[in-house]
């Protein structure tokens, strides 16, 4: 579920911000090497907060930021609010 949303929103932001068709993401894809810069990534995180209702980057206490798409999905899954 979260993976689908992430993939969709990533494609949306990529097209708007970087231009052109978004690359296909695998778990090992390095986020900052996909062609999306810091600003694009910031927009992605904001869009995801609107979509999912939470922002793990602000909430989480981990030292390390996710670097790959697989890590990003796991990061969002780990911090998802418990289903009501």
């Amino acid at each position: 579920m979260i993976r689908t949303t992430l993939t969709q929103v990533f494609a949306e932001v990529f097209e708007e911000h970087a231009g052109g068709e978004a690359p296909t993401l695998a778990d090992a894809s390095v986020l900052l090497e996909t062609g999306l810069d810091s600003l694009g990534f910031a927009i992605l995180v904001t869009r995801l907060e609107d979509e999912l209702g939470y922002d793990p980057f602000t909430e989480a206490a981990e030292a390390v930021y996710p670097r790959t798409f697989g890590e990003l999905v796991a990061f969002y899954e780990r911090h998802a609010p418990a289903a009501a």
């Binding site: 810091s38 990534f41 910031a42 995180v45 869009r47 980057f57 602000t58 030292a63």
Partner: protein, 443 residues
């Protein structure tokens, strides 16, 4: 107004005082640098430096300081014609750099004359992005007020340069490494970040200065944890607690300092206790001989060593007691003074300043927009993002308008200025003068 210091040691004299022979940049040693810098006439013309290469930049500064009346540090990305106009405002007769009037140090030396060497004024440009950058005069003394020259410690340090060296923050890194007896590593600014990180790691970078946005990106970059960092410096944006905690965890051996600095005020002060904001005690006992004050929720600082007006316009930014209004909104919370953002409403997107009025002007220039309001939203990645609300002109389709505005903004605004989201709403509040009511602003 002129507050040039009477007789400050020149860059050459201060370089000679560092370890007799050491490496300044990979492959450039102090003896070679000083030998080249010593060989010039007493007086050189005032020049604007427009160079990208750090080695050339350092060599030119070493030759010019104490010989030219003015050195303007132009951003290498600025078009040559714009640099010429800035040079004229600053009283410089030539532009030095690739494709400019003077391309080599030999050409510069050939213009020299015998005479009394003037003290050199270093002119920096403010990072105004939309407005014409302002010019601020410094001296080597005012620029190095917080530079440490402990050569025993300095010799073990390797500074990494991720900033443009002509900007205030980048120049601090260059001068600290030069005068502190350290080495400087300057990876190609055009290379992707992971490649620059690899260069810094291979060269053993121990000291690194960057904006909070860049630090967040570094934390997302493979192998950044391999950097043998002992000193982490953050500046140019608000350093939040989350980021400070992450850096503490990622680089447990490093000292972390977030610095507050503005081009107008000269360097302000640094905070090294790992907490966001600064201790309220700084208001009573200020660090390093400056003075700090909070007036009407804004931060004021005093640094005697800096001229109190912009060059060529006479606009004074210093009050009668010598305080400079930094324009930063602050709040006292418990024992801490916390930064809230720019009092003017200017939005800091990853270190780039965005004027909401300018973005609003671009939005209302679209025929489908009746009223536009631009604000910001907190971002855990770039600190803030630009957000817009627009009231459509009668008969406009909201969905089509959103798409059109995206293209419209892409054509007229820099990427960081473009609204990250545009909300089409029914009616926006305006004040008596028909102007938008922005948060924190008297209507």
């Amino acid at each position: 107004m002129d507050v040039r210091a009477p007789k400050v040691p020149t860059l050459r004299e201060r370089l000679a005082a560092r370890a007799p022979v050491s490496e300044v940049l990979p492959g450039l040693r102090t003896d070679a640098l000083l030998a080249e810098a010593a060989d010039a006439p007493d007086v050189l013309p005032s020049v604007a430096l427009r160079v990208r290469d750090v080695r050339t930049f350092v060599r030119a500064l070493s030759v010019l300081d104490g010989r030219a009346e003015t050195i303007l540090l132009a951003s290498p990305g600025t078009p040559l014609e714009t640099v010429r106009a800035q040079a004229e405002r600053a009283g410089c007769t030539h532009v030095f750099g690739p494709g400019a009037d003077l391309e080599t140090l030999a050409e510069l030396r050939a213009l020299g004359q015998p005479g009394a060497a003037p003290p050199t004024r270093w002119v920096l440009t403010t990072s105004g992005t939309t407005a014409e950058p302002k010019l601020v005069g410094h001296t080597l003394g005012s620029l190095t007020r917080t530079t440490t020259s402990d050569a025993t410690r300095g010799r073990t340090a390797t500074w990494g340069l991720l900033y443009e060296p002509t900007r205030y923050a980048g120049l601090q890194v260059v001068l600290q490494s030069l005068l502190g007896g350290s080495r400087l590593v300057a990876p190609d600014p055009g290379a992707p970040l992971h490649e620059r990180v690899a260069v810094l790691a291979v060269r053993g970078c121990t000291h690194l200065s960057a904006t909070p946005t860049l630090w967040r990106r570094l934390l997302m970059t493979a192998r950044s944890e391999e950097l043998p960092l002992r000193q982490i410096t953050l500046g140019g944006e608000i350093a939040d607690q989350t980021l400070l905690d992450r850096l503490t965890n990622a680089f447990p051996g490093a000292r972390i300092a977030h610095i507050f600095a503005s081009t107008e005020a000269g360097v302000g002060f640094s905070v090294t206790d790992g907490k966001a904001g600064f201790p309220a005690a700084f208001l009573e006992v200020p660090p390093a001989g400056i003075a700090i004050r909070v007036r009407e929720g804004r931060l004021l600082v005093r640094n005697e060593a800096v001229a109190g007006a912009y060059l060529g316009e006479g606009t004074r930014f210093r009050d009668d007691e010598g305080f400079v209004d930094t324009g930063d909104a602050v709040e006292l919370r418990g024992e801490r003074v916390l930064f809230l953002g720019r009092a003017s409403g200017v939005i800091n997107v990853g270190g780039q300043k965005v004027h909401p009025e300018r973005v609003e002007a671009v939005l209302v220039a679209h025929p489908g927009v009746a009223v536009a309001k631009v604000g910001q939203r907190r971002s855990p990645i770039t600190g803030a993002l630009v957000m817009a609300e627009v009231q459509p002109a009668p008969g406009t389709d909201p969905a089509a308008l959103k798409r059109e505005l995206r293209a419209h903004c892409a054509a007229l605004l820099a990427p960081y200025e473009r609204p990250a989201s545009v909300k089409v709403t029914g009616r926006l509040a305006t004040n008596g003068a028909g102007k938008i009511v922005r948060r924190g602003e008297a209507a």
